[in-house]
Amino acid sequence: MRGAGPWGLKDDGFDKVMDLTGWLRLDWILVAVVGGWLLIGVAGVLGLRRFTFVSRVLFPAGGALGLLLFGLALGAIFGAPEVAVLPIGLPNLPFHLRLDSLSAFFLMVIGAVSAGISTFAAGYFRKAEGTPPGLLCLEYHVFLASMALVVLADDAYAFMVMWETMALSSYFLVTANHRVPEVRRAGYLYLTMAHIGAISILLCFGVLQANTGDYTFDNMRAQNLSPFWASVGFLLALLGFGAKAGLVPLHVWLPEAHPAAPSPVSALMSGVMLKTAIYGLLRVSFDLLQTRFWWWGGLLLALGLATALFGVVFAAVQVDMKRLLAYSSVENIGLVIASIGLALIFSGYGMKALAALALTAALYHVASHAFFKSLLFLCTGCVLHATAERSLGKLGGLIRYMPWVAWVTLIGVLTSAGLPPLGGFVSEWLLLQSFLFTPGLPDALLNMLIPAAAALVALVAALAGYTMVKFFGVIFLGRPREEKLAQAHDAGAWERVGMLWLVLGCVALGLAPVQFIQIIDPVTQQLLAAGLGRTVAASGWLLAPISVERASYGPVIFLIGVAASFALAFLMVRWFYHGRLRRSPAWDCGFPWQNARMQDTAEGFGQPIRQIFEPFFVMRRELPTPFDARPRYRVVVEDHFWGWIYLPLAALAERIARLVGLLQQGRISIYLLYSFVTLIAMLLVVKR
């Protein structure tokens, strides 16, 4: 481990600071990227209403810094850990920072994805959307900087400060459009859930430091907790980070907050911020805690799968495109948590190589989800700007008016549906492969149960396909359901560049899994002392995590195979036959009075899901009678957890508040009486 460049120095301070060659990656990240983002934010406030300056200069600069962070972090994954102590904060309580493979991996994701989103944002934000652009710029870049610092923090104090900064800055971003009451409500819910999570994380760190009073992560690593306290710490971490990640039943804020925020912010929250919760969970359970038990993994696996299934079933019945994506994020986070659970189970039994396989699947999914979900949220942003509609029931046929966005979305949709040869499939494949090894576990019960859980993963993946067909088909295909859609315009140049970058990520993650697993390898080496890097490198472009005989997947050959058959079929048809084409009205079994209202609606597309998974939903239907002159059909689908947990809790809180309210009579004499009684009581205590 090497010491920090400019920070920890006592004697030869200034000269050394100016000597840039002595800087470590961590210093570059802190000064150039985090400092740069904060400076951009300040510049945004200075140019509060100068719209062109903010959008055309500041946001692209933030994107460039994201790219820089991506490059630096990529190098740092393979480097030795670096530490630094920042002398800011409270007296005698400096910030400890540490850059190791785990944090570098997440920094890389933050940098790469935010580069695309910032570039997109340069062309996205419009004037007069609630918050002035300069302020938005400040909040946005503070948000970015705090996320980077969360994964760098090496003591509980720095971590919590950054975690809270992240929550607050994102709260202000969510409520950017604060004149709408719904948005304010969503923001409030988000803030509440964020703080419940934060309290739990704080308590978790309290348990982990084991009464030593030293809150650095180094000290926590050194503690050898009893199984009971280790489990308490783990469960608190699960609660805290689960609230941020959207683990069922703590997911309720996601489908409210993500749609409320402006699209680049939704992209950032869904694509990047949720990953900091995954980071926290990994950091606590694999790094800070020295003992691990298989039942933690079992719990994570069960919760993760429940979350995934719940998320995807709800996503399939949504009629608001951004809510659909938010629920889809719940699903993906569930899959990641399930993979982590599997890794914990394997590592609890000391099967390190298999644990590394499952953890690789989790990290791979973290990266691919970051790319495709941001991409999809940005696409909804384009649609929203072009049509001013978020409801699927009023969209349709947009592939003709905004072809560019449509094709880009198609890539995101295919990745999200977990289809080969794109990024989403690789992680799913790795996860299923690791499930196939669970019969090797020494516990008979787990042997039986876990392979069946693989079926649930398969079901979730297939349902994701259903959801994504609905998402893409209803928005972009078919006929426009409203007349105004014919005026929809395609994305601007900045937006295109940003989205293309994210598309590139989806495709690269799909086609080059071997190379990307080399990047994940140091992370699993750090956490589990095992990795797939060497095995995978042995078979070239073919992904074979154990051996080629056991299982292999070659996305490049796969793509070439499909593309070659495509091209050959096309050429052969032209060669032997002809390429004649006639246009005519749609056939539809010869029914000539087709109109756009006869297409399947979003509700219609969700109907089989509502029927098959009925117990999942609270449904309220309003059905017309056959004699209605103006029939109205309405269905509202809600979440059971509101009725089960949140509304009773809210009622309880309100009742307690009312009881406390009885004390407050609003008359001076009563308050004087309180003081008097207190004084007497104190005197009695003192006198004893």
Binding site: P420, A462, G465, V469, G473, G478, I557, F558, F570, P608
Partner: protein, 315 residues
């Protein structure tokens, strides 16, 4: 990769492309006979393809480029699928590109594209078909995966060629797990290939149609490609079933004679399989769409039971 590998790979693709319509014709012929009808010629599917390729393609006015690309994509997917399933030989250079899980992904890719194409025109039948197709897809996929899991737990591999080699060389060839998996696989194949209890391949212009509703707007060469792809899919599914449950007679590496022998064996196995399919379709009645989840959940449970049986017996 050696010369035999390349030859057997090429042979396999050619055989799949050439024989797939024949299998469809064979099943149709037997079905007609079993139902006391006069049967179409065995070569009817080829004639239909030839006729369709010669016709002009009529495309709806507002169809997007996606609509025109999908037949080629679906055809490409199915061609790749039938070239990685070991039908004649297990010495296939392309096979490592996709194992059993990737094969399921490949079928899913084709399904997603064809459903998107059906929604593209914006007719009521198209989107209805897309919805139903995706419904059957998400019910069938987990069951199919569980079947493949059972087989790969036995053979300790998800690579199709290794699976076939391992299963063909088992001393005790009949596993109880495989029996469950076999029944489940048959049920899934019926659903995935739009066969009778789930969908009726002979239907047209009915409210209950699924596959036909999807491709209602296609004509000419596009329709020909889709029909061909559908036969390829039936062929590929039959071959997966044969490869997993009756793997004998498939040639292995460096065995040119066995390769020659493999073709008649395959044709024989497919002939029997096609006949059984026709019998099954004649005996069963088509079920309501909301019975299909129960049917496929049954398949899924059978597959899971098969897997559990294997794990129980193995420990």
């Amino acid at each position: 990769m050696n010369i035999y590998g390349v030859i057997s790979q090429a042979l396999e693709i050619v055989v799949a492309l050439a024989l797939a319509p024949l299998l469809t014709g064979w099943v149709n012929q037997w079905r007609a006979w079993l139902q006391n009808k006069s049967a179409p010629s065995l070569w009817q599917p080829y004639r239909v393809l030839h006729k369709l390729f010669n016709k002009d393609s009529v495309v709806a006015d507002h169809a997007s480029p996606l609509f025109r690309a999908v037949p080629y994509i679906v055809f490409g997917c199915m061609a790749l699928a039938s070239s990685i399933v070991p039908t004649l030989s297990t010495d296939l250079p392309l096979a490592p590109a996709a194992d059993a899980i990737a094969l399921v992904g490949l079928f899913a890719l084709a399904r997603v594209f064809i459903s998107l194409a059906a929604m593209d025109i914006g007719t009521s039948f198209g989107s209805l078909g897309a919805r139903r197709e995706m419904l059957i897809g998400f019910l069938a996929e987990p069951a199919l995966l569980m079947v493949l899991f059972s087989a790969s737990l036995i053979s300790k591999s998800t690579s199709l060629t290794t699976m076939v080699e391992a299963l063909a060389h088992q001393e005790l060839a009949i596993y109880p797990a495989l029996a469950f998996a076999g029944v489940a696989f048959t049920m899934v194949s019926l659903a995935e290939n739009a066969r009778v209890p789930v969908d009726n391949p002979a239907t047209h212009l009915e409210l209950t149609m699924i596959h036909e509703a999807l491709i209602l707007e296609y004509s000419g060469r596009h329709l020909a490609l889709i029909e061909w792809a559908a036969s390829l899919k039936l062929f590929a599914y039959s071959c997966i079933g044969l490869a997993l449950f009756f793997p004998w007679g498939v040639a292995e590496a460096d065995a040119p004679l066995a390769l020659l022998l493999a073709l008649p064996v395959l044709v024989g196995k497919l002939a029997i399989g096609g006949f059984l399919l026709a019998v099954l379709e004649t005996l069963a009645a088509k079920m309501r769409i909301f019975r299909v989840p129960e049917f496929l959940a049954g398949a899924f449970l059978l597959a899971v039971i098969g897997m559990l049986v294997h794990i129980l017996l193995a420990t």
